[in-house]
C-alpha cells in the first residue's frame, strides 16, 4: 500500500505527533527563549500536519477532513514513525529526536518540492524552509550540550544512543512513493555525522532497528498520547469549534 494517500498520511502523522510532543514542553522549557522556540517549531509541524492531512483526506475521497483524520483514528490506524511518538525525556532526548527528525524532513520536503504532484510540491516548498530552521535549532543544541559540560555531554550521548535505533525506520524503501525515503539516507547520514563530530559525540553502532509505525504497529506510548489529544473530540463527536 504505497498510494499517494498512504504516503501523504505518513508525513502528516509524523508532523502531527511531533507537534503534540513539542507542545508538551510549553511553559516547561529550560528558559523562556527556548519555550518560544519549541512552541514555534511545534506550530510549524502542526501547520504542515494540517496541510498534509487535509490533502490526504481529499486523496482518500471518503469525506474525512483533517480533524476526522487526527481525532477519529485509533492508534493502529496511525502511520507515523516510532521516533516522533517516543516520550520527550529530558531536554537532550527532545533535541536528539528533533535533530534526527528535521535532518530527515529537510531533504524529504526539499525532494517533495520538485515532485510531480502539485499539491505535495507546494507543501514541500513551504515546509522545507521551516525544516531548515528546525534543523539549525536542534543542531545548535546538540553541539551545545555535546560539547558543553561533562554532565551535558553524558546526557546528550545517552539521548543519541537511546533514539538512534528509531531513525532506520524513516528510510524504509518505497519506490512507488512520490519521494522514496531510502534515497535520502546518504544526505541524512552526512548531516548527522558532521553535527555529531562537532559535538564530540559518537554515532552508535547498533543493529537494532525497531519499526512498525508505518504499518500501525506502535510503541505503547502512542495510545496514551492519542487518549489525551483526542479526549474532547471523542466526548463530543461532530461538534464544531
Amino acid at each position: 500500500m504505497t498510494g499517494p494517500f498512504d504516503f501523504t498520511l505518513r508525513l502528516g502523522d509524523d508532523a502531527l505527533i511531533a507537534a503534540q510532543r513539542l507542545g508538551e514542553w510549553t511553559s516547561s522549557a529550560p528558559e523562556m527563549e527556548e519555550d518560544i522556540a519549541l512552541a514555534n517549531i511545534a506550530l510549524d509541524q502542526l501547520g504542515a500536519a494540517r496541510l498534509l492531512l487535509t490533502y490526504a483526506g481529499e486523496l482518500e475521497g471518503a469525506g474525512r477532513d483533517e480533524d476526522a483524520l487526527a481525532f477519529r483514528r485509533e492508534d493502529r490506524e496511525f502511520r507515523n514513525c516510532l521516533l516522533v511518538e517516543l516520550p520527550n525525556g529530558d531536554f537532550a532526548v527532545t533535541m536528539a529526536k528533533l535533530f534526527f527528525l528535521s535532518a530527515y524532513q529537510l531533504p524529504l520536503y526539499t525532494a517533495l518540492a520538485g515532485c510531480a504532484d502539485e499539491r505535495l510540491a507546494a507543501i514541500g516548498a513551504k515546509a522545507r524552509k521551516e525544516s531548515a530552521y528546525h534543523l539549525d535549532h536542534s543542531s545548535l543544541w546538540v553541539k551545545r550540550l555535546g560539547d558543553g559540560t561533562e554532565e551535558s555531554h553524558r546526557r546528550m550521548q545517552d539521548a543519541v544512543d537511546q533514539v538512534w535505533p528509531y531513525v532506520h525506520e524513516l528510510f524504509t524503501p518505497d519506490p512507488a512513493a512520490p519521494v522514496d525515503a531510502a534515497t535520502l539516507r546518504a544526505e541524512f547520514d552526512a548531516t548527522v555525522d558532521a553535527v555529531l563530530t562537532e559535538a564530540t559525540l559518537t554515532r552508535p553502532e547498533t543493529s537494532w532497528a525497531p519499526a512498525g509505525g508505518r504499518d500501525g504497529l506502535h510503541t505503547e506510548h502512542l495510545s496514551y498520547l492519542l487518549a489525551e489529544m483526542q479526549v474532547l473530540h471523542r466526548a463530543h463527536p461532530g461538534a464544531n469549534w
Binding site: E31, E33, I36, A37, Y133, R144
Partner: protein, 94 residues
Amino acid sequence: MSEPSPLWEVFVRARRGLSHTHVGSLHAPDAELALRNARDLYTRRQEGVSIWVVPASAITASSPDEKDAFFDPAADKVYRHPTFYQVPDGVAHL
C-alpha cells in the same frame, strides 16, 4: 538549568530602517543562540533585517546620577552654542 544563561541586548535594523535600534534583551548561552532567539523573539524570521546581539556585560552606561555633569553642562555658557550666525537667505537646508 541551574543558573540562567547570560543576558544579551538586541539591536535590530528593520527592512527599511536606517540604523539599528535597541529592541530588548534576552537570555542565551552564547552569541549564536542569542541571534537565533532574537530572530524568534523580535523579528519573526523576517528577511532583510539585520540583528546585533551584545552581551549586556559589555555595555557601559552613563549614570543617571551624573546626568547634570554629562548632559547639561553648558547652558550658562552661551558662547558654546552656535547661535551667533546670520544665515544667508540663499541657504535653504542648513
